[in-house]
Amino acid sequence: MNDHLTLISQQLGERLVQSIHQENQNEIHVILRTPEDTGTVCSFLYQSLGYRLVTMVCSDERENEECFVIRYVFEPGAERQSEQEPQDIFVLVIAKIPQSADPKFPSLVSVIPGASVYEREIREMFGLIPVGNPDTRPLVLHEQWPEGAYPLRKEFDIKTKVARDKVKHQNYLTVEGEGICEIPVGPVHAGIIEPGHFRFSIMGENIVNLETRLFYTHKGVEKLAESMTLENALLLSERISGDEAVANSMAYCQAMEKIANVRIPNKAMRTRSICAEMERIYNHLGTLAGISTDLGFAYGSSRLNILKERMMQLNEKIAGSRILFGVNKIGGVGIDILRHAEELQTSSISIRKDFDKVISMLRSKSSVIDRLRRTGIITKKVAADLQTVGIAARCTGIDVDTRRDHPYAAYREITVSGRGETPKQRMAHRVEMQQRQGDAMARFDVRVVETIDSLAIIQELSARLGKDDDTLVLPGITERLEPFGNALGYAESHRGQTLHWLMIGKDTNSIFRYKVRTASFCNWPAIENAVLNDIVPDFPLINKSLDLSYSGNDL
């Protein structure tokens, strides 16, 4: 922590930086003198120090600071994380964009391609122009949204019903040439899945280009949170993406607990981790089943779906909800799972046993392996450029896992995948990482390994549940909040890192700004690369193997 602070402050110096200080335990705040220096500072962090850009948070602080503020959030890159002890820090580069008729900020896309989607989002939601970003297409609000209405500006009333502007058509990159044709798909798809539009340019069966267009499920979550109390926004955070309820609500609660500077009871931390792993398991089982369906092997999928149903019934038993709504509470958890500890043990053993059988059966089928291997490859370079997170990144050999890199809840006390104890184990893990191909097979295999890991974590943690006292919630957190206090909450959902930046309002039971960035937002851009040179029938398989949430992306 301290060496990062000294390193950054020495290198950047007073010419660029107004102040640099540590906050909220693991955040380094770097406040820039002028927004023009954003590029210099961010490329120093990104290129020289090898940090990753994990989110960009814009907020409309014209009332208090007379400016818009953009926070560029970085974390140490995977190379640094695996070579040394994990470094649990986030660096926030804070740029203040003065209020003006057409506020602008410098774009980072030439250095960090993954910044593009964040900049487009800020452009639409706040009306700040990213100077230098060539992609000016609408992202969130689609083409019938009129110019000049920016939902996340404070003067925009959430109830506004904006009239539909004349229909302008989205600009898709078109591929021309003999034999090339386009297939538009969606937003209403053939299966029971969420809406999104995909436009393939194909040559025969081969995909030459794919354009995705998402945000059909945009529900104004971030704006809505600003009109809610802290308790109510917790329910909202669970519904950002239904199948990530535990991870998202945990990140939200942790942001608040960080602002209040409190440590929640041990039993609550273990309960959170156990439920987060149960969520990971039922979703991984569902995804593996989906992969099996999409490669045309119904038998494997129905076997795996049975296991998923078993997990969901267990969810209901411990949490009163089949998809684990209502687990987290501000300052702790709302459920006492101690009486189910034994059942958690026996179930994780029996599910592991059945799971192993299904997987070895699937692996023995050459038709399964043939479809998966070398399909939907994401190269390590593409994943790094697009700031991919979670399984999609780990499958290319980028070793990032929020549970290990920024331990939260009970992950401090257990060994999460890849954090071997001996040098030999660590080396074996690194070698194994380098062998990952970034194809659908890797995503299948890594999901299998992580499901097994999660089952082991549940066993380990549920055995320790009884050792704690019975406190489930640390009361009085909301009283400890300061107006405009802010912090970053984070968790590793089954899709990858989910980051929630929360700023408390003037009234400490309200929210000034709630920025959510789920793993899907980072990983969606990668799919356009993953499908290149594959055939159209492989698209559903590739899509499923990445397991992306539309709702978590669209908010």
Partner: protein, 303 residues
Amino acid sequence: MPEMTSKDKKQPNRGGRDGILSDHVETISASLINSRDLIMPNYRGRVVVAPVSKNDNLRNGSSNVESQSALKKTCVTEAISIGRAGVMISGEEQDSILSVDNSKCIMCGRCQLSYPELFKMESQFATPARSKSEMIVNSPDAEPGDTSRKSYEKVGGDLREKIKKIFGRSLAIREVDAGSCNGCEVEITALNNAIYDIERFGIHFVASPRHADVLMVTGPASRNMEIALETTYKATPDPKIVIAVGACACSGGIFGDTYATTGGIDKVVPVDVYIPGCPPRPQALLYGLFLAVDRLDGLNKNT
């Protein structure tokens, strides 16, 4: 990476006796099949309001304006309402009466935590209904929940008979996500798993609205999905049935009516059956389908 045990290596599983046709992979047990009707006691299925006599602190409404608004505010989706005086319950005139609107309730259980004497969460799921007014419940016995207490198998069997009678073929459903959080999709997908196995009742999900008899719509109808939902509805041949699945589709749910949402799919397309829940469990979905087919039966008789 793949954890192959030495046993697996020696005896690769290549179909035949230990493969596809055998039950070598043991993932299902009788108890799991029976679990279709098993609802855990702590499942948050629906809210029941306490018998009116217990609502004493809510009587004399005028002096209690503050406590009334505090009570309403416990509910994030404003599902709780306090009726005016003069309502008759069991032949007795009441000063005030509580009611819960199941089309809005997201089953968070917060009302029970704050006012345990007034509200109780029950593990019985809230009953799907044909109109929104049927979904407002104000006393424990007011909800017509009897049919939903039938077993999954029984509802499914009745449904199969009805489908056979009306269509002489199976029933085709198109699912449309109009902006849901994907929680409802998790449950609708579960209908197709080997436990609930809805296909054996002659119900299957189809890939196009042009093949569908029923549209199952989830989500608060986001602004960006409004046109797609309308188009899908128009593409579905008559007679068609629209089912609103989940609190969001029924009323906008927690996402409400904002710049980005329309506050319920009935603002966009006509709805025939509402299935409450956040998300509704598979049994509730099946019962909602039963109501929908029943309605289609009615439509056919009229034409």
